[in-house]
Structure formats: C-alpha cells, structure tokens
Amino acid sequence: MTTTTDLVSYEDALASYDPVMGLEVHVELGTRTKMFCGCSTALGADPNTQTCPVCLGMPGALPAVNATGVESAIRIGLALNCEIAEWCRFARKNYFYPDMPKNFQTSQYDEPIAFDGHLDVQLEDGETFRVQIERAHMEEDTGKSLHVGGATGRIHGASHSLLDYNRAGIPLIEIVTKPIEGAGERAPEVARAYVRELRELIRALGVSEARMEMGQMRCDVNLSLRPHGREKFGTRSETKNVNSLRSVERAARFEIQRHAAVLNDGGTIIQETRHFHEDTGSTTSGRVKEEAEDYRYFPEPDLVPVAPSREWVEEIRSALPELPLVRRSRLREEWGISGNDMQSILNAGALDPIVATIDAGADAASARKWWMGELARSANESGTALDELAITPVQVARVAELVTKGELNDKLARQVILGVLAGEGTPDEVVDKRGLKVVSDEGALTAAVDEAIAGNPGVADKIRGGKVAAAGALVGAVMKATRGQADAARVKELILEKLGVSEG
C-alpha cells in the first residue's frame, strides 16, 4: 500500500506558499486514578486489570469527576495564560471505535475549562515566538489495541485486534493552538519549540511526566499552505500522534513539501488524517476526517457542570511554580552564561540534572562541566537521555566535591564517573575499588619529581633559566609515572621549588 509521494524541495515550497499550522497536544495527567472512576492509572499492569463498569461503559454505571484532574486542567490553563471558565460542561463525542468501550468519548465541546491564552517559545537562535492558545479542555484516553495477524503489529493486514482497557479513561488534557501564522520557513522549528516548551511547562507544573516516548504526550500537526499574499487558509491535513520532538518538526516539514507538490500540480488537498512514519519521516493517508457535527456532541447528562470558584482559581494561580521560560532566564543570569550555552544545555536535556546537582552541593560551573562534558558524551554514545544515565545528580555532586577537596583531579574524576556508569557503585566505592586517589603522599611525589628532573636535564635547565612554561613537560612526566594520580598543581609547585624558581 506504500506509494511514493511527490514532494517539492522545502525551499521551493516556501518560495510559493505560506504555511499555517495548528497544533493539538494531548497530555496524559499523572493522577493516581482515571478521570471518571477510581481505577488505578499505574503503568505496566496486566491487561484489563484496571477497569470497572464506568470505564468499560457498562449500562447504568455513573461517572464521577476526579477533582485532581480538574485542578490539573486549571493549573495548565493558568500557566498558559488562559482564562478559566466560570462554568463549563462535559460533552459526549459519539463515534464507534473498538478502543473506546463506551462508544463515546467524554470530552468538552464548546465550553472548554480554559481558553484564550498564549505560550512564548524560544527558537534555536534565542528568538521568541508567541503561540496563541485557543483552548485547553478535559477528556479521557482510549484503550490500547494489539493488532494480530498483520506485519509487525500494524493495523493494516491484521486479522483481528485485542483490546486492553487499562488506559481507557485516563485523564487527558487537550491543548489546542490558534492558527500559527507568520512563522514562514521556521514553521517546523516553531512546532518543535512549542511542543518542547509545553513539555517543560507540564513537567514544571507537576501534572504529568509528559514522556513523549511513552505516549504521555502526543501531538497532532494540522498544516495547510496558502499562496503568499492570500489571507484565506488552504485545506489542512492532520498528522496524528506524532510522538517525539524531532518527529513534530519532520512531520511539519514533510507535509509542507507534500502539500506544495499537490498544489503545484493543480491538485487539491484532501482534508484527512495522516499517519507519520518514524522510519522514513513521511506521512500516509489515514481516514477522511468526520465533520464535527457527525460526532453529535451533546452535554454529558451523567456529569454536572464544573464551575470553579474564583477563590479556587486564584488559590491555584498563587501556588503555580516558577515557569520554565522565567526559570531559564533566571538561571542563565545566575550562572553568567550566554543564551547559546543555555540553549545547548536545553538541547542536551541537561538543565534539570544540572540544577539537581547544584542543589546537591556542587558549584554551578562544575555541575555544568560534568553534565555537558563527560556525561553528555556517555549519553550520546549509548543513545540514552541524560536523566536516564546510571548516575544521580547527588553522585555527580560528590565527584565534584572530591575534585574541589583535591582528592581527585579531573582525569581521575572522569574515571570515577565511568565507574559509576558501569555499575561499580557510588563514587566513593569506585574510588576505593579502582584505587583512584590523587597521590598526596609528599614522599612518593618528591621521588617522582626528582626522577623527572634527573631524566630531563635539558628541560630542567630551561626552567632554572626562567622558562617556567617548560615545567609542563616535567609535570607530564610525573603524571605519567604516577599513572595520573598526582595532583598536577602540587606537582608543579614541587618542581619549581626544587629548581629554585617561583611562578610569576
């Protein structure tokens, strides 16, 4: 069924057309229970062990709203600078699909709990782009399907499907942007930056871990093109469930190129959903999109309206944590680093580990150095995220402390870190097991220094003659002799002392 899709080059597409995007992000809340029943939301449970008559849609079952779910929705809305509805209802969105046992999704229709906000996002070069938020509303997740009989679990060619409803009913907040106009060639980058900023925000609010690879946060990318200078939007396509930041950018880029090819040929874009394929970075046709009226939305009769009092809303507002953009500018100033440096830290996913390492007692410069150096390299090599490395910020702080105390030098510290990553224990255990101590025994050091001077008479003479810089060669010799375990600064002091010169 795979057919090649005609594309025009990205540059040519942008030369003729102006992209307009709309992003819909679903966030699974981290509540203990589902949105409308008390079933657990814990991950990894056996299939169909976390269901009840409510989330299975059995006749006569009555839903009851999760208070924490509503509070989380308000928190998200406030953090997105939205207004919070004084009164709103849930609605039934009717359609048939096996992953939805009730045959309707409990959602919100024309009365979202939060509306009219914005989120400022930072692009790679530090420029800020304001994305307008249309609404954020409460709804519920669907069950999980397992497709049997087709190739590699794909729905196409499957003979039948198996449903696990543990996920059905887990609270979702859907956050919808207004049409994003004026991003031009940077539209895909804006899409990525928006989803990233939103993810940071959601995490900072503590309402979800928002791990995209686990489906806790998913993005639908709506995209259309219009010829330059035309105000009316073109027909859009909706690429569903794009599950990584990189994919969000690639999906937007691909659709710009695909739309442009269709339009250049005089064709029309079909309003449809499309599936994104991680392997090729392309999209393929899904189903033709229903009209909203086909969902036959109507107010949910089993749930009474939600009318958050202004007191409650203000209480929630006053308890909001420092938001990510504000926090980043504060940290950037505190650490005295450039915007580019901060961007690299963000891109590496190192911000939280660095902050946690500082909280554990390290100074900012060392914390940055280790996370952006040795640890970033290790994470890169093993293809893991920084915060998934087998070392904790507390352990990194301990390594930094050992260096500050002079018990380790940088080279030894690197070995300690590698040891911890290799599962050899805590930094102190690795130091013991590998015997990684700076040689501070003056006797042993002095002997090594004497040896180095005796072995390099020419260099020694130069130093005696005032060329202090030449001492580096002797320090190197001592470090080699002590297998890197000497304190280089102390070695240099000893050498200069022996040769009767003083620094500076």
Partner: protein, 98 residues
Amino acid sequence: MPGITREEVAHLARLARLELKPEELEHFAGQLDDIIGAVARVSEVADQDVPPTSHPLPLTNVMRPDEVRPSLTPEQALSGAPAQEQQRFKVPQILGEE
C-alpha cells in the same frame, strides 16, 4: 418545518451503525420530523430569560478525591466479551482491506 430527508436518516443510521431498509428510511424520516417539530415548539415558549437546561438538578462541582478504588478482576471485566484472547477483548478486523 424541519423537513428531515431520507439521505439525512441514512447518514444518521450509518453514524449509529444501524442497518435500515429503504422503507424504514421513509418511515423514520417522517417520525424524526414529528419529534423535531414537537421539540421545536419548546423554543416558542422559552424566551431569552430561560437558559437551556442540560441537567435537571441545580448541582455543580460534584467531584471525587483522586483515590484508587478496587477495579474488576480481568475475569469479571471480560465476562461479557463475545470473544477474548490473551486476557484482552478480541474484536474483528478494524480496517477493511485497502
């Protein structure tokens, strides 16, 4: 008068996954017309000062704390399933061949 067409009934039937015979389409078109006509009369008496009622009870903010309650066992959950496999509900092919 609303004037529900046969095509609209057929569309609704498809959305509701109901298989209707041609004569039923006619029949229901007339009935739906009557129902909508009757309901429409309500708006003749309800003025601006009468808000639409979706819930008969004057309640708002009925919420429960985020506390886990016991779920059904998988056996109970699956007891009404026409077919099951691997402790999951087994359903027919979702997408037709393309």
